[in-house]
Subunit: 345 residues, 2 copies
Amino acid sequence: MEDRTELNTLGEFGLIERIASQQSFTHPLTVQGIGDDAAVIDGGKEYLLVSTELLAEGVHFDLSYVPLKHLGYKAVVAGISDILAMNGTPRQLTVGIAVSNRFSIEAIDTLYAGIYAACKEYEVELVGGDTTSSRAGLVLSVTAIGGVEKSKIVYRKGASAHDIICVSGDLGGAYLGLQVLEREKRVFLDDPENQPVLAGHEYVLERQLKPEARVDIIRQLRDLGIVPTSMIDISDGLASDLRQLAKASGLGVRVFEEQIPIHQKSYLTATELKLGPFTAALNGGEDYELLFTIKQEDYQKILDHTTDISFIGFVSPDPEEALFITKQNEAIPLAAQGWERTDTE
Amino acid sequence: MEDRTELNTLGEFGLIERIASQQSFTHPLTVQGIGDDAAVIDGGKEYLLVSTELLAEGVHFDLSYVPLKHLGYKAVVAGISDILAMNGTPRQLTVGIAVSNRFSIEAIDTLYAGIYAACKEYEVELVGGDTTSSRAGLVLSVTAIGGVEKSKIVYRKGASAHDIICVSGDLGGAYLGLQVLEREKRVFLDDPENQPVLAGHEYVLERQLKPEARVDIIRQLRDLGIVPTSMIDISDGLASDLRQLAKASGLGVRVFEEQIPIHQKSYLTATELKLGPFTAALNGGEDYELLFTIKQEDYQKILDHTTDISFIGFVSPDPEEALFITKQNEAIPLAAQGWERTDTE
């Protein structure tokens, strides 16, 4: 018998680390390989950034409630967000699609209408890709390409103890939007005569179905002359991404419940769904906000210029520390999340 | 009722043209977008090349006879071949994999062992990617990244009338290897006690299971100071790729049966399988050889230095002309192939 170890014993991060550790060839022009939001390649005058995402039907999206146009838009946003997380400018992308015959040409047109809408919004050009038939479901592969001035690049690593942890926008909305859609799907499956009740949840639905990449935040920081000391985009959830950030710098983190930005409308939806809004913010994922650290001296500059960046905590010198401090001043360990989390089943 | 047009009415090339025609944003740093083997981006000192391929189980490969290690190797070769087809040097790649739980960690290790073996062989580094679970089967996405000196880039377009059409290596082997594997699969399905009979077909099996990208040809041309006037890699089959090449330059082609390179072992397999060796060479695909055009003055230089490049015909000034001239001097139109051709069912 051959050895057989189940894939889910490793988790996605474990699998990526395992794959990365087996590499034996390195290229002299590679500055950063596997392990950051995007790969960094020496392009002479600047650094070139490349990031690949894969989105699979039934895992990342459920076409029974995700319109194809939104799916196309969101796939591009996810790719662009990885370039922004390196403090870069997204410029081009390639898209591969594997589709089964159940998709018509009109359906593919709708998917690309969403892709092109995002391209226009973020000024990126679709420069290539591949189309193929598929046995089952839709799989999308998005490779985002960008560039960054060498002195302005920001990695996941690079934070120092006592740096301030910042997050853009607000968190948890995308996850709560998904819960509303899942609830209405269950209602519909129980009785197809039922029309979905989405009124009152527009904010979280928009966060789930049409997230935006925070190119405006990157521009603001540039205008303020601030280069974050480390950065990641929030795709897996604040808790998981905070731990990634801390681990990359070999340091710890301490964040405060009262500083976590949650939108008023997300609170309302969470209350109706009997879900904890902080659980959604910490573990929800797909917000595509930027999580970054700054030197203490940059704090006032941000405070003076924007209210769309929250200061949620500090980098701790102790690498073992990853704490969430509640309003009652209790310290709770931040739990990491893994591989199956985004599975919609 | 919404309009519904079946996907297979367009074909893969039609679908790509349709997608490309809907683009509205172009980036100033994009030199060549959709429509060549790789996208071309202005990187300052040189051109950057990016190409994405998607490989889906049951469409591009059948895991009942394709070992995972070979699949990994071949996926990298397919990506690298696109960079070579622009006269470029491949340097990095990203790989996305969507896998179902039926794959163990050991199976994923084997797939990556093949990917890394190709990385080492071609001196490219795996710099990123994505791993996700999948509902059904394995989907691989490979994005190859490379560079080329601006004055040395070769596009699909660029040929002139009377240029000589060249092809590296020999053709049809990969397709014939696939036919042997398919035959043995049928025999096995009829009676699982039967062991596959592969002896005598090693050459074509190697062409199918472990093709190589012709980086040696690109180096030879460089050493000879020859820049082809146009180029494409043979992934879809000589007939289809010839038509792509001719169409890109707005010209025609005329190729000669007696000049088409077919390996002696491919002949023998074709004979045993009662298949036409020229049909395999013209329509088979997956050979990953390079098809290119040169100026007449470069002919002698190549002839003097290598026997691994064949001169198979001429570029014709008539864009309507796409002819295959048989040994009996009959002129037969070259038929193009489409989307479903590589489907293994």
